[in-house]
Symmetry: C2
Subunit: 396 residues, 2 copies
C-alpha cells in the first residue's frame, strides 16, 4: 500500500499548517490577530441566511449537476454590466473556487504538463495542479516592480514547451497586483501564440482601489474560446464558509469535459446555492462601501508597515493582501516566535510565510503575506505587535 506520486509531491498548505499552533496559543488565553488567512470580518449580507431559512421542501434533494438554474441566471445578470454576455451553458456552479480549479486542471493536464503562474502565487494552485499530475512553471515577478508580470519578454522567458495554460489571479493573491485591459491583452496574445488556456481567477474582481476600473478577461471577445474564468462568493460577499464558486467558459469542448466531472460528483449543496442566488441579486452598489472599507484598511496597514525599520512593503492596487519583506532570515522561524514566545499585553499576530508561494527554490524565505481583513484598529495594533516582535526577535 503506497500513496500516489501526485499526493507525495503535494505539500501541506503553508497558510493552514500553522493553524494548530495558533489554536494552542489561543487556547492558552492569548489573543492572536489573524492576518494569515483571507477570511474577512465583513458581515455576510443578511439576504444569504434569510433565503436559506425560508427553505421549506420536505426532502433536501440532489440538485442538477451544473447548479441551480436560478443561481446560474443570477450570475448571468451579475456579469451583464461588465459587458460579458453569458448563457446557462457557460456557467458551471462548483463547491467553491477550489473545486472549480480542481475540475479545470483535471480537464486540461496530462502527467508532466505544466501551468505558468506568476510567483509568488496562491499556494493551493500548486496543490490542484499536482493533484492533476502537473507541475507549476513559475513566472518570477519582481517585488521591486510591484510583482508586475504582464510583460511579453518575461512571459516568453518563462515559457516551456510543457506549458498548457497560464493562470493569473486578478486582482492578485498574494500580491494585490492589478492588470489593465492592455495587460490582459498581452497575456491573451501570448497564450494564443503558444496555444495555451488562460485561467483567470477573478474572485477579487470588485476589490480594486485608487479609482481603478475593474475589467474581466471575459470582456476580451477575441480570446473567448481559451479563457476560463474562476469565481466564487467567498470574498465578494464575505461568505467563505458557503463554498460556492463557479466556472465561466465559452469553449464547448471544455465545458463538455467539465460536465463529466460535475456529473460524477453529482451536485453542489442546495441550501448554499439558494443563499448564493440571493447574494448575486444584491444591487451592484453593495460593493461601494465594502471597497471604501478595504481601501482604508489597505492604507492603514501600508502606513503601519512602512514605519517599521527594515520592512519592505508593496502597496497593492487590489484584493486584500500585501506582500511584505521582513528583516529576518526565515519568516517561518519568526512566525513560530510570534506564536510560541512573543506576547505584547497578552496578544500576538500571525501572517502567512511566503516561501510556499514560490516554485523557485530559495525565494520568499523572508517574505510574508498579510491579509487586511480585520478592522483598521486591529490592523494598526497588528503592525505595532509586528514591530515590537521584530525588535524582540533581533535581541533574543
Amino acid at each position: 500500500m503506497r500513496l500516489s506520486d501526485k499526493v507525495n509531491k503535494m505539500e501541506f498548505s503553508p497558510i493552514r499548517k500553522f493553524n494548530p499552533i495558533a489554536a494552542a496559543t489561543e487556547a492558552s488565553g492569548v489573543h492572536v490577530y489573524h492576518l494569515n488567512i483571507g477570511q474577512p470580518d465583513i458581515e455576510t449580507p443578511d439576504v444569504f441566511m434569510e433565503a436559506i431559512r425560508k427553505f421549506d421542501q420536505k426532502v433536501l434533494a440532489y440538485a442538477e449537476s451544473p447548479g441551480l438554474a436560478s443561481l446560474q441566471d443570477a450570475i448571468i445578470g451579475y456579469f451583464k454590466p461588465f459587458g460579458v454576455e453569458l448563457e446557462r451553458k457557460n456557467v458551471l456552479v462548483t463547491s467553491g473556487g477550489s473545486e472549480a480549479l480542481s475540475m479545470v486542471f483535471t480537464s486540461i493536464l496530462n502527467e508532466g504538463d505544466t501551468v505558468m503562474i506568476p510567483e509568488p502565487y496562491y499556494t493551493n494552485y500548486r496543490t490542484f495542479i499536482k493533484a492533476a499530475a502537473g507541475e507549476v512553471t513559475p513566472i518570477t515577478a519582481d517585488p521591486d516592480k510591484g510583482y508586475f508580470f504582464a510583460d511579453e519578454a518575461l512571459l516568453e522567458a518563462s515559457y516551456r514547451p510543457t506549458c498548457k495554460a497560464i493562470a493569473v489571479v486578478n486582482p492578485g493573491n498574494p500580491t494585490g497586483t492589478i492588470l489593465s485591459k492592455e495587460d490582459m491583452e498581452v497575456i491573451c496574445r501570448f497564450a494564443k501564440k503558444h496555444d495555451l488556456w488562460v485561467i483567470a481567477d477573478e474572485v477579487y474582481r470588485e476589490f480594486a482601489y485608487d479609482g481603478r476600473q475593474m475589467v474581466s478577461f471575459g470582456q476580451l471577445a477575441d480570446y473567448a474560446d481559451r479563457v476560463i474564468i474562476i469565481d466564487s462568493v467567498s470574498k465578494r460577499f464575505s461568505a467563505c464558509g458557503a463554498r460556492i464558486g463557479f466556472i465561466i467558459c465559452k469553449n464547448d469542448e471544455l465545458n463538455s469535459g467539465l460536465m463529466k466531472i460535475a456529473q460524477g460528483r453529482l451536485c453542489c449543496p442546495t441550501l448554499e446555492m439558494i443563499g448564493a442566488t440571493a447574494l448575486y441579486q444584491l444591487p451592484s452598489n453593495y460593493f461601494d462601501s465594502i471597497r471604501v472599507e478595504y481601501e482604508g484598511r489597505r492604507n492603514v496597514l501600508y502606513e503601519g508597515l512602512s514605519k517599521i525599520p527594515g520592512v519592505k512593503v508593496n502597496k497593492p492596487g487590489g484584493a486584500f493582501y500585501m506582500m511584505v519583506t521582513l528583516p529576518v532570515e526565515s519568516a517561518e522561524d519568526f512566525l513560530m516566535f510570534l506564536l510560541e514566545e512573543f506576547r505584547d499585553n497578552n496578544e500576538t499576530m500571525m501572517y502567512a510565510p511566503a516561501e510556499g508561494f514560490y516554485a523557485t527554490p530559495g525565494l520568499g524565505k523572508n517574505e510574508v503575506r498579510l491579509a487586511y481583513i480585520l478592522n483598521q484598529h486591529d490592523l494598526k495594533r497588528s503592525t505595532e505587535i509586528l514591530a515590537k516582535a521584530l525588535e524582540a526577535y533581533k535581541n533574543r
Copy 2:
C-alpha cells in the same frame, strides 16, 4: 488547447445523461416516475433545518479543513455501537461521498494503476478513478448468483498486477448485495495478500433487510491499516442535497496525504456541517421505521417486476436498488421509448440503463437499475407502466 487524456476517457453519467430528455418530457405535462436515481422521497429529519436556521454568526467563515469538531465527534459517537472506536484524526469530513472518493483515488493511484471493483458498479467510481489517471479492473459478478463476489477464486481470477485497491459498496449499489462479516474477511485477506487498499463504501449501512445484522469493515481490527471507509449523510438521512460525506481511516500516512488535498480545497460548507451534526445526534432507532419502509418498498417492487413476462429480477438484501434484466436488446433504446413515446394515462417511468455500470464491453446492455425510493403506490404503478411499455415496445 487540448483536453487531458483523463477527461477524454471519462464518460457522462449514465444515470444523469438522460435527465435533459426526462425534463423535456415533464415540461410537456407528462408525469415521470423517477426510479433512475437514488433520491429517496423520505423526509429529511427536521433537526437538520432547525439547526441551520439557528445559525446566527455575522460572518459565514471558513471552517477547519478536516471539518467541524462537533460533527467529527457526532460521527465518532455514531460508530461506537458498531464497535468501531475512532479519534478525530480518523474522521475527515468531505463534500459528499463523492469528494471522499475523489480524494482517496487521487491519494493512492498513479497513471495506469487500477482499482478492483465488482461489476455492475456505481458508475461514478469510474469517473473518480479516471480523474486520478487510473482504470477499473472489474470483478464480474454473476446475476444468477445474486451478484455475489466475495469469493476467493473469483477475486484471484480478476486480480492484475496493476491493482492498488479493491473497492466495494456494502450494501451494494446497484445490486443490493450484502456482505457478511466472513465475506469481509475473505476480501481483506485477499487484499492483504496482494497489498491492496480496501475501500469500503458503507453509505447504505442501515439499509439491510430480512433481519440481517449490519456490520462495518471498521470492525475488522486486523486490517485497520488498509481499510478506508467512505460514508455520507445523503442516503442515511435522506439529505442528498447536503453534500456532506466523510472518510474514516486509521492509516496515518494516508490521512496525511488526504489532509494535503483537504487543505488545498480549504473546507466543507459550514451550514451543512451544522445540519449534519444534528443528524448524527439522532437516536439510532430513527432508522427502524425507515428500514421497515424500504423493506416494504423492495417487496412491492420485487413482486411487481416478478409478474412481468421475460423480466429477470434479483431480490436484493440491502440498499435501495434492484438490478433487473429486461426482455429487450438495448435498455437505452427502450428508455428513450419510455421517455419520448410511451404514455399511459399521461404517465411514464424512468430507470438507469446498466451498460455504463460495466467495464467489460458487451455486458449489461439489457440490464437496468431501479431505485425503490418512491412510496409503494408509486412503485406499483411504475411496474404497471413498465409492463405495458414492454408490450407496446415489442409491438411497435
